[in-house]
Symmetry: C2
Subunit: 334 residues, 2 copies
Amino acid sequence: MVTLKELAKLLNVSVSTVSKALSDSNEIGEATKKRVTELAKELNYKPNRIAQQLKSSQTKVIGVVVPSLMNPFFAEVVHGIEKTLEEQNYDMTICISNESLEKEKRSFDLLSSGSVDGFIVAVARDTQIKYDIKHFEIISKNAPIVMFDRVLNDIDCNKVVVDDFNTVFEATRYLIQKESRKHILLISNIEELSVGKQRVNGYKKAVEEHYLKTNIIKLDREESPDELIKNYLEAHEEIDAIISIDHITGIMALNSVKALGKNVPEDISIIGFGYVDSEYVSSPKLSIINQKGFEIGKTSAEILINQLASNSKIEVKTMMVKSELNLKGTTKKA
Amino acid sequence: MVTLKELAKLLNVSVSTVSKALSDSNEIGEATKKRVTELAKELNYKPNRIAQQLKSSQTKVIGVVVPSLMNPFFAEVVHGIEKTLEEQNYDMTICISNESLEKEKRSFDLLSSGSVDGFIVAVARDTQIKYDIKHFEIISKNAPIVMFDRVLNDIDCNKVVVDDFNTVFEATRYLIQKESRKHILLISNIEELSVGKQRVNGYKKAVEEHYLKTNIIKLDREESPDELIKNYLEAHEEIDAIISIDHITGIMALNSVKALGKNVPEDISIIGFGYVDSEYVSSPKLSIINQKGFEIGKTSAEILINQLASNSKIEVKTMMVKSELNLKGTTKKA
DNA sequence: TTGTACGCGTTATCAG
DNA sequence: CTGATAACGCGTACAA
């Protein structure tokens, strides 16, 4: 790594001359500027970012803490974050909590010692269940946090969420009103998350508003969830629509229905919770509630960077990113 | 952020005393040690990592540059990397090249100014096509690189790859020998990548060895790849097996075959290139070649950290991670 | 126009 | 046992 000092020695000038020349300061004569920049280019000089960070006490790095990247929703969000950060010349260091409280704490520890300027976080499942949130309280004193999707109401920070309740409410109502469905099954495997509860409630409200019966399958880490779905459908011939509230069970449901010899969407309508690829791996293409992960990521990063720029305590708020109902082949009117 | 200096002032001792006390040096008396550690805990002191990095000129951070995280293979690899790094107390900063040469260069620029101790990289598609690899040459002078999957033969560094050729060769041979298939279709949408070529060659070798005809569909960014597959199958009634060499077309093929009223695996066997979730979204469950992304990530990180520890130029080599043929429901003998 | 001096927070060496 | 000092690389106020 070539440093200012080395350049200075080679050119027989002082370190600060070199520094100023490289930042194109008008204190420096054109001649020396040229000598300096040329040598710098030749030796491929790059200012040491660590030193800059220490000096300026800002890192231009954002810490991103997510439960997993193998959940396509989070992967999409991370891409959204990346997009904004890139435009603003920020980097990100990603920690994966793996849904574990301990790992989440550890990530905060590592990142909170000056390595990042702020955080974007989706809370681990474990943390939400145990509701041990001291690490959030501590960290939020020192650095700005933006939470998305998996959010902690008791922590005072900016939040970006999907309008989970209304989204599922409207999708359910769509099935009832526009497709005349009367026996709607909801499949859930994220019951214990705040977002999961919201979604289930949206479903319940729509169903109850029309004086229909709720039908819910909870899959918490089943051995063979697809079997369970199939068995349920066999035992409940009356089911004529299905809503799935996570990214994978919708496709499972579709396959189960087809295996039972029923037609989609003629006999049963299906709406999944989706991500961009789900339409490629299903036939007919799955109608989905699109969570807009990319948007969520972009928005989160923008909020954080704004907060960083205007380093005052601006009012903290919760942004709703509205999700879209993308109707494809598993509902009647695509 | 509370610093050593502040602690020193509060305790009326010198900065170096505090520093030593906290690192449990035996130069310091038990009494003062206790005073220091207690105050440090109380004020939640954490050594500033940036300062430590500047001092020690190592960051304990690895730069990970991948084309995308929405490809489940890369997501899996990143999880593998994360696992190893966590055990070794390293962090990672992730840059997403988005398959673009320019973004890849930019990522290197950002990370090469002392922010990371080493790199783990999968080369962008764009870079492989244009074969502009100067940035790799430059960087590999200063910091160790490990490449995985998408690899550049002309760069002298450690590499971790799937045994693409043999993997597909053996899968194809399996279809011919054990399942008596004679008309095997290969579906490819990554023809232009080194890994893609290897896989196609493996297929060709097996087919030609048995004096059969090759059937290949190339899908470079089609509008509706599923339609194309379906049309091909309709036009070629004789096809009795399909191999897909990326993570998504296998499921498309399965759906197309079912839509044409054929039975899987009775009429047609299918083998996809897989990741952990593919069996959940297909029915019957897709037989796959499992690329073992997690293994690849773990191995890459281990190699890099070893290299960093023994900071000599050890011999550079290419590790093969053997992939597995996971037979499920889309081949006859599961 | 150029150079000197200092500080960011830490650690290591050396002196007391 | 404790404290002063220097150094990591950079930027900047101030002096020349």
